[in-house]
């Protein structure tokens, strides 16, 4: 964990960490790539061959305008078409909490790619815990800014839960880091002590073997 160094301070902090894990010249696909910031960085600075999938028409269009290879579609459907081991890394950043069948998707990710990188907001951050404990309302935080009735985040995940889940679906965690940052923030810090309580996000490199 200590070898992780954020790569570029123009991107969201979790994306900087993810970028630092990608070997130069890799084939990469970003599931839910948004406006393509990470892809563009990986292509320009790491010589990566990058693809993206994004649901939102206007974000897809902005990606293609920037010269990225991105297609519009549902990530759960689109991953099914790629041949085995097409990619070195399959990235899904801050999307897992919105996925209906996380185990199916994680298996697809590690079929089409050699390694997966997943980041998600940590629901067991002390802020969430305190809100629930003291106010009795479902937590609303900067990382999870929605009310229960309008949130796209249908999954409640903690860093501990994720570790357990990955072992249950039969894969290994090759690297993991917990960070503290606001959702769109470019700055943040790595949390080494008591991450499940203190980190706002978890980022994991997963695969079949060990690193």
């Amino acid at each position: 964990m200590s070898t992780t160094k954020p790569e570029n301070n123009k991107m969201r902090f979790d994306l900087q960490i993810i970028a630092s894990w990608i070997e130069p010249g890799s084939r990469v696909i970003d599931l839910g790539c948004g406006e393509g910031d990470l892809l563009k960085f990986l292509i320009d600075h790491k010589g990566a061959i990058g693809n993206g999938i994004e649901h939102n028409e206007s974000k897809v269009a902005h990606c293609i305008e920037k010269g990225l290879s991105v297609l519009q579609g549902d990530i759960n459907e689109e991953v099914l078409d790629y041949p085995d081991n097409t990619f070195d890394y399959v990235i899904m950043s801050q999307t897992l909490q919105q996925v209906y069948e996380p185990d199916t998707l994680i298996r697809s990710m590690l079929r089409i790619g050699k390694k997966g990188i997943v980041s998600f907001p940590n629901f067991s951050h002390w802020g969430c815990r305190l809100q629930l404990l003291l106010s009795g309302y479902a937590p609303v935080t900067q990382q999870l800014p929605y009310e229960w009735y309008n949130t796209p985040n249908i999954r409640v995940i903690t860093i501990k839960d994720f570790r357990k889940f990955i072992h249950e679906v039969g894969f290994n965690i090759l690297k993991g880091v917990a960070i503290n940052t606001h959702s769109e923030n470019r700055y943040g810090k790595i949390i080494a002590v008591m991450p499940n309580l203190r980190a706002t996000y978890g980022i994991f490199l997963i695969g079949n073997g060990t690193e």
Partner: protein, 390 residues
């Protein structure tokens, strides 16, 4: 497709362009068509804009749809009323930037816009071909364009671009001459017509053939089947629009009257629009060409011809980078058809980008001025062009 281009000389334009002709396949070296028939000599009308680089690596081939022609952008004369059919996309600084790229647009064989087709004089009889003109296919159109590319000295095309039937030619180029195509942009297109599309084409053809003036295709020295062709065009126009766009454009509004006429004149605006479009079309298009070109499009089946029935196999020879675009309200070439080709491309490990543009204008959306479409095409072309420079 319909005609949307309006007079806009103030905007950036490629300026004055010229309709050029290239004739090849002189007997006895006729072109052998997919049907086995021989055709020659063959003339293609074409237009070029921009400059070909010294390394000939910046050529873009634009492929037009059913009723289009080689006049893609600019003006033939200073006082022309309208520029070429895709002047909003092709020009200096536009989606397809003629300051950067050398754009070629070729008319298709079977058309009546300067290339060899049923209204051309058959050298054997010294009369117009009429129905003696052999049935041509999308593959034959592409073969003829290949001869033109050879003539222009272009061995590698940076991008082939086209919508609708033009998009079918794009796909056929990738399957037939995979080594020549670096990138491809099929817009609002399909690998094969649905039953719905074939049905509309058949009704349109029946309208022409039911006109007594059609006379089995021999009408070139007498009255033409204008009524039949106009009805065919009216059917076409309905399919190019959408329920939403027709509601928006016409609704149930009446044309120049406040109440029904209680006869069979054009009361509704939509009736008047279709009659006008039909009338305008017969002034510039040949009924036999309409029959031949719609038939070619209906016959087209990429997976059957290049993949033994498999769409995945049909894309196995090409290594082109693709940008596939569909439009939400297009019911003639609906998004599911574009998605199917994207799926097949992915299964072959091809580099493919896909966007379904929100548009209420139906199939015709690909011809309309759209910042979104311009930006997509501009960004994609820039990337593939830069990648060839690496």
């Amino acid at each position: 497709m319909s005609e949307y281009i309006e007079h806009d000389k103030d905007a950036n334009s490629v300026g004055i362009v010229e309709k050029k002709l290239y004739t090849f396949a002189e007997p006895p070296g006729e072109m052998v068509l997919e049907s086995g028939a021989r055709l020659g000599p063959v003339t293609l009308a074409y237009e070029t804009c921009g400059k070909l680089n010294a390394d000939r690596g910046n050529a873009i081939l634009v492929l037009h749809a059913l009723s289009g022609d080689s006049h893609v952008a600019g003006y033939y004369k200073e006082d022309d009323e309208k520029p070429g059919w895709w002047d909003n996309m092709v020009g200096p600084g536009k989606g397809i930037d003629t300051n950067k790229y050398f754009v070629v647009c070729s008319n298709i064989i079977g058309s009546c816009m300067g290339s060899t087709g049923p209204c051309t004089i058959n050298p054997k009889t010294v009369l117009p071909y009429g129905l003696d003109f052999p049935v041509v296919t999308i593959g034959d159109m592409v073969d003829a364009q290949k001869a033109l590319m050879d003539h222009l000295g272009i061995k590698k095309i940076l991008a082939v671009v086209g919508g609708s039937i033009g998009g079918m030619q794009v796909l056929e180029w990738c399957a037939r001459y995979p080594k020549m195509v670096t990138a491809a942009i099929p817009l609002a297109s399909t690998t094969r017509h649905s039953a719905l599309t074939i049905a509309f084409n058949e009704v349109a053809r029946q309208a022409i053939m039911a006109d007594p003036k059609w006379n089995n295709g021999e009408y070139y020295f007498g009255p033409k089947p204008d009524l039949g062709l106009a009805v065919a065009r009216m059917i076409g126009h309905i399919t190019y629009l959408s329920d939403e766009s027709m509601r928006h454009k016409f609704g149930r509004r009446l044309q120049d009257k406040s109440d029904f006429s209680f006869n069979f004149d054009a009361d509704f605006q939509v009736e008047s629009y279709l009659r006008y479009q039909g009338k305008k079309f017969v002034e510039r298009f040949d009924a036999n060409s309409f029959l031949y070109l719609t038939k070619a499009a209906d016959y087209y089946d990429l997976e059957k011809q290049h993949g033994d029935g498999s769409e995945v196999k049909a894309f196995s020879k090409t290594s082109a980078k693709f940008l596939v675009v569909s439009f939400t309200s297009d019911w003639l070439y609906p998004t599911y058809q574009s998605r199917a080709m994207v799926k097949a491309m992915k299964k072959n490990g091809l580099d493919v980008s896909f966007c379904e543009i929100e548009a209420k204008w139906g199939h015709d959306a690909f011809l309309l001025s759209s910042e979104r479409l311009f930006a997509l095409i501009r960004g994609f072309l820039e990337r593939v062009y830069n990648e060839t420079r690496k």
